[in-house]
Symmetry: C2
């Protein structure tokens, strides 16, 4: 193990979660924050008090304070160098070079994990478990790179090499644009008749789920990555205008829906493979304790793995429909088994 | 019971599902379709052969064939009158009046249920269970209205009175606009680098889930309701343009995200109430048969009801995180119970 002492600058959700996890893996951690109360809370949380020169300094400040953190930390003694964890990478690289840092001693990274809540009090050592963690190690000192990879590995994340520009364009497409679209759509619901909103189904709810995200967090991310987001939002607006002009033309509408189908089919499914085809088995259950347990017990008895599931309730009703996603080869066996076991299984096409 | 014989014109998913359910409730059903093969399949499926004059004729054709169905059925003998089930209502009302129908003998309705697959072979008697079913009975003969309410009640749906114009504006907002936005967003993924798409998380996946819908079905719905959708799409484009102009201005971005939060909070949660606050409990499990069953058994033993749940897998990993949504008052008890029972329960803020 390369690391025995890591200094973490920034005691928010990400910094504290990294601290917690590193200490659990036997690494000494010093938590630092410009807010002395936050620093005390975080240091208390990670329960670690290493001494001497740290091997690595992790800058875990918000994007808006990276320049300031760089300035205050650039003379701190450190053996291998620095890494950061902010969601936008080209902006940070520019700040590193303008601040006079030796860029070989700075590893830009981005753990793709987070929560809808912030602060050290929300920290979780398992936050990065199995999540992608991007690093851009071009021109970076090999030992510093190995230290970064060790952090990623100790935290259970999956290291992915990507240059900063590609990273920023990638997250603009798969994370920032969807966030803005969900927020813009959900914003259209303000002022609508309550009786109309009562008709909303699972489709609308899923489409706007991430609209619940924090304005404080997202205003910084979007503004910092506006250069990569702007062309994507521009293209989306152009496509929307084309659709608006052809809204009563079935051919135009069909092509928009078909393009959406093709795009959706490109998103990988579980376990890193391409989207897998599951077969869906709807089962009507009573919405009370015990039903789900008995149902999944029955599935286990049938030795069938549940790949995904969705639970749908309806307004004013106490029954629910649970839809199990399973491998196509299991469908006949499971359906037969559950029906014999007395479950209200519905036919699938 | 008012109804002993119902004639259903249109043997697709909705018509056949209504037929199946009515026959299960003891009502005789004649299935009719302009395609003789489809008619034979549907009639075979519902297994009913009533004779004599039907009490009610249900027009269950696609929107594009409503005018034609009206024309071919308007002289059919029927005791109480007609109802339809199409997703857009003002267009149908116009077609009824221009076809010379007595509008008192025509009840416009819309069951808000469907599947991503079509055809009689996909029919399910429980398709309408607990779903809203809109009817516009202004000016409609009271006995015909009662017959419509009986169909809705026999099928287990929830009747909601709403005038056709409000209906069309409501579904434009809560169903048609979200569909188009999800499709437009998913369409932006075409041509993207595969490595970028690998970074997609649950946020993107949820936002574009309904982009998997059928172009054939949606081109008709959108074109038929384009008058109600156009102003909504126009406003969304304007909001998107305003955001684009202020994309690097944190204040502009924060307001878009905040408006989205407010809109999302307006959508009712389960059981017809306003969105309830749940507390979320993340648990790391092995992704293999039996784990979910044991977990839900444990929840039942703790006598805690699971209000909702989400299963998240990560690329290349065989562990999964299941997040249980439960009532806030149950969180302490369940967390303690599961931890004692040996589950890998994570802290919540």
């Amino acid at each position: 193990m390369l690391l025995s002492h890591v200094r973490i600058v920034g005691s928010g959700l990400i910094g504290s979660s990294i601290g917690l996890a590193l200490v659990q893996r036997g690494v000494g951690v010093t938590m630092v924050d410009s807010d002395s109360g936050a620093q005390a809370l975080a240091q208390d949380l990670v329960k670690s008090a290493p001494t001497g020169t740290p091997d690595l300094i992790i800058l875990a400040s918000p994007i808006s304070s990276i320049a300031q953190a760089l300035e205050s930390e650039k003379s701190s003694p450190v053996k291998l160098g620095f890494m950061d964890i902010s969601s936008v990478k080209t902006k940070v690289k520019v700040e590193v070079s303008t601040s006079g840092f030796d860029s070989a001693r700075f590893l830009p990274t981005h753990p793709m994990a987070g929560r809808e809540v912030g602060g050290a009090q929300s920290a979780r050592a398992d936050l990065f478990q199995a999540r992608p963690w991007i690093l851009d190690s071009a021109g970076v000192d090999p030992d510093l790179r190995l230290a970064g990879l060790e952090v990623i590995s100790l935290l259970g994340a999956v290291a992915i090499e990507m240059d900063s520009r590609s990273h920023d364009e990638a997250v603009a497409l798969v994370s920032h644009l969807p966030q803005l679209v969900a927020s813009l759509l959900a914003g259209q619901l303000e002022g609508a008749d309550e009786a109309w909103l009562d008709l909303a189904g699972a489709g609308l709810r899923d489409t706007i789920r991430i609209a619940g995200s924090s304005p404080e967090l997202w205003k910084e991310i979007v503004a910092a990555n506006s250069a990569a987001i702007a062309p994507l939002l521009t293209r989306l607006i152009e496509d929307s205008q084309r659709l608006l002009r052809g809204l009563s033309d079935e051919k135009v509408v069909a092509e928009v829906i078909a393009a959406g189908q093709r795009g959706r089919d490109l998103i990988p499914g579980k376990h890193g493979g391409q989207q897998r085809s599951y077969t869906y088995l709807p089962i009507v259950i009573d919405d009370r304790p015990g039903q789900l347990g008995s149902l999944f017990n029955a599935c286990a008895k049938a030795d069938v793995n549940i790949e995904d599931l969705a639970l749908e309730h309806s307004p004013g009703q106490l029954t629910a429909v649970i839809t199990l996603a399973i491998a196509p080869e299991d469908i006949g066996r499971l359906s037969e088994f559950l029906t014999k076991d007395g479950w209200n299984v519905h036919s699938v096409s």
